[in-house]
């Protein structure tokens, strides 16, 4: 019996249109990144990565200090920090704020953190309308889907599918030209910006020494979300901090390039506090909700806390041959790809989706492109050993443990190892592959062998190296 995740993965693999959409989009992002990181374009790329890693390491190890500093700075600029231990507390805060201000409509800019806590759906239960204003997010909100990718939420959809979604949900004519589709979205969203009472954003960075929220985007919708409505609420994970504004010189060089190959995104906004007396733009009220939602638990683990260094550039997804095959919706949480594979088990528990850390060939392409040098393959290996331990009483795992125990015993007894090798060789048949094995279909049905043969042939069996070496040595001596 195949598990649900296996069935879904097979479905994605069998969908030729989906496969080519994923491959084309991620391939484009890979190409753009490669050009942006070329030695003549960014000669100090490796030094920047090292710096980024060290700054994140320092910040995460001193997070309590920087969080307090940030809170003081936000207050000093006339804003307010709200602490939330989980999504429920974020929803509670926003619900009460909306009630108090008589707010009905919330515009949002793209934020994985709010996706993480299902903010839109939960606010909907409180009769608050939330509208995503990033084009990709808007498309998937209309379609009722989860983001397919950390930076490109509608990466899996072709313009024809987008046209259909717009026709179905907005009642517009079927237009398939990207410019026309954008125009339709823009016209609809403009009305929402003007009518919205609250703008909710995420944060790419929080700057401790100035209390600033930094937003990076290409469409200008985040800037609209933070200036048009009267109230701006930024929802951010506590790991988003950097100590000083000057640290952004490192991160902003890396983020756009890693994500889309852009030296800098079209808009980079530094927002600290509400509009002050003489200023023209900006909200009347400014809140930063700092979300834990399991982050302090990750922080407590010395080896794995580097997972919190992530700046959500999505490069590891684009370069992951597994993500490129199975796609973003086959990961159990909103965070997909290699980064999703290491943070989901830590946030949701090891046994929630125990298969996830094993769904990797450990090729290391993710770690190679990670701008903050998270050692993803090593963390996958750690998580694998933790899953095995957590599931030691589960029957399938018991059997697997028994197999590895037997294997380890054989590997410590070279003579028995050799005898078993001979036996396996006899089963497979020497040279021609026509041993007992091919005449005993029941043996071919043994799990791992069947799995191997479902995709590929086996190499022809023959004598082992050690046998041939003895023959050779005897010949040399005589």
């Amino acid at each position: 019996m195949a598990a649900l995740y296996q069935i879904n993965i097979r479905k994605a693999l069998a969908d030729a249109r989906l496969q080519s959409a994923i491959y084309a989009s991620t391939g484009r992002l890979m190409d753009h990144r490669r050009h942006a990181m070329a030695p003549d374009a960014l000669p100090d790329y490796q030094e920047l990565r090292t710096q980024a890693n060290l700054i994140k390491k320092h910040t995460i190890e001193n997070l309590d200090h920087y969080l307090e500093q940030f809170e003081v700075q936000v207050a000093a600029h006339g804003g307010k920090v709200v602490w939330a231990k989980d999504g429920g507390e974020v929803v509670e805060f926003l619900g009460e704020l909306a009630k108090e201000k008589g707010a009905r409509l919330i515009v949002k800019s793209k934020s994985m953190t709010t996706e993480e806590i299902d903010l839109n759906e939960r606010l909907g239960h409180q009769h608050l309308e939330t509208v995503e204003t990033d084009l990709g997010e808007y498309i998937i909100q209309l379609a009722g889907e989860r983001p397919y990718h950390i930076v490109a939420p509608a990466l899996h959809l072709t313009r024809y599918e987008v046209a259909e979604i717009f026709t179905r949900h907005l009642g517009v004519e079927n237009e398939t030209a990207p410019e026309k589709l954008t125009k339709i979205a823009r016209a609809t969203l403009r009305q929402k910006f003007l009518a919205a009472d609250i703008g909710v954003t995420g944060a790419n960075f929080l700057v401790a020494d100035s209390g600033a929220v930094v937003l990076v985007e290409n469409e200008g919708n985040a800037r609209m979300s933070t200036t048009a409505p009267r109230i701006h609420v930024a929802v951010a994970g506590i790991e988003k901090l950097v100590p000083r504004a000057q640290d952004l010189a490192v991160f902003l060089k890396l983020l756009g390039r890693s994500a889309t190959g852009q030296p800098l995104t079209v808009y980079t906004s530094f927002l600290s506090g509400p509009r002050r007396g003489e200023e023209i733009d900006g909200p009347d009220e400014f809140y930063v909700v700092l979300l834990d939602n399991g982050r302090t638990r990750v922080l407590a683990d010395r080896d794995k806390r580097q997972s919190l260094y992530c700046i959500r550039c999505g490069a590891c997804l684009n370069h992951c041959p597994v993500y490129r095959k199975i796609g973003g919706h086959n990961y159990p949480w909103v965070y997909s790809g290699p980064i999703g594979a290491i943070i989901s088990p830590q946030f949701m528990g090891l046994t929630h989706d125990p298969w996830l850390p094993f769904a990797s060939s450990l090729c290391g392409a993710c770690a190679e492109v990670c701008p903050v040098k998270i050692d993803i393959p090593r963390l996958l290996l750690e998580l694998r050993s933790e899953v095995v331990k957590a599931e030691e009483r589960q029957p399938g795992r018991r059997l697997e443990r028994l197999a590895f125990r037997a294997w380890a015993w054989v590997m410590r007894h070279p003579r028995i190892y050799e005898m078993l090798g001979l036996a396996a060789g006899a089963l497979m048949g020497e040279g021609d592959g026509k041993g007992w094995l091919s005449r005993a279909p029941a043996l071919m049905n043994w799990g791992p062998l069947r799995a191997w043969l479902s995709q590929r042939d086996l190499p022809p069996a023959g004598r082992s190296f050690r046998q041939l070496w003895r023959v050779r040595s005897a010949r040399v001596k005589s």
Partner: protein, 241 residues
């Protein structure tokens, strides 16, 4: 004699690709090294380590360390197994200081085959001749854990009669990944099929790598697709005369 090397042929070469081990011995002897094969060797422990069974991996790794303790040089026809010994034994034995010390003492003497030729034997030309067109597959662990990229290409460039054609996706994983290949067979197979498209495009007769496990995967998918491209370990190419 330049010195003495001990072969660690790896379990996969021992059982499935013995000609790779023989070719490696032949090349090393040809360039003046004395070669021995410690018969007590089996495996480095990677299959258990990568599957999350660290106790079992440790038992096998200790056996490995005992067998090769006194070797002058250990030469390995695999980037992946070399990286297991030189990189991952650190993690494996982090709570066993005595074995960690053993692992650290041995690590500088453990060499992936192509790197040994270039950096210890200091040779690019081993006197090989092979009239064929080949393409080189960068195996992931050699590339990203050992940073082996140009070395094997330099050795191939000196082979008389050989034409090397780069494939587009040379740095993309073949999809093997040890137990991943049987835990997620469709994903693994899909990755391999993407890889072989890139191999076939070059029109090469053979795809060459320094890891037999990748080649087992690539060969298996090529054979299943009925494609007339062979697989060869670098040692086999260098052994040709």
């Amino acid at each position: 004699m330049a010195g003495r090397v001990s072969l660690f042929v790896t379990c996969i070469v021992d059982q499935l690709f013995p000609r790779v081990g023989l070719a490696m011995a032949e090349v090393l002897e040809r360039v003046g090294w004395e070669v021995d094969f410690p018969e007590a060797q089996t495996c480095c422990g990677q299959p258990a380590f990568n599957s999350g069974y660290r106790d079992e991996a440790r038992q096998v790794a200790r056996h490995f360390l005992r067998v090769f303790r006194d070797a002058e040089y250990v030469v390995v026809p695999s980037g992946s197994c070399t990286a297991m010994i030189t990189h991952h034994y650190e993690d494996l034995f982090r709570k066993e200081p005595e074995w960690l010390e053993e692992a650290r003492r041995l690590a500088p003497r453990v060499w992936e085959f192509s790197r040994f030729l270039l950096e210890v034997a200091r040779l690019e030309d081993v006197g090989a001749r092979f009239d064929a067109v080949v393409t080189y597959h960068d195996s992931c662990h050699a590339l990203r854990e050992l940073n082996i990229r140009e070395g094997p290409r330099r050795l191939l460039a000196k082979v008389r009669g050989l034409e090397v054609r780069e494939m587009g996706k040379t740095e993309e994983c073949c999809g093997f990944g040890g137990t991943f290949s049987v835990k997620f067979p469709e994903v693994s197979g899909g990755m391999a099929r993407t890889k072989i498209e890139s191999i076939v495009e070059t029109g090469a007769d053979y795809v060459v790598s320094i890891d037999s496990s990748c080649l087992m995967q690539i060969q298996g998918v090529l054979a299943r697709a009925g494609l007339p491209v062979g697989t060869m370990h670098l040692a086999e190419v260098l052994a040709r005369q």
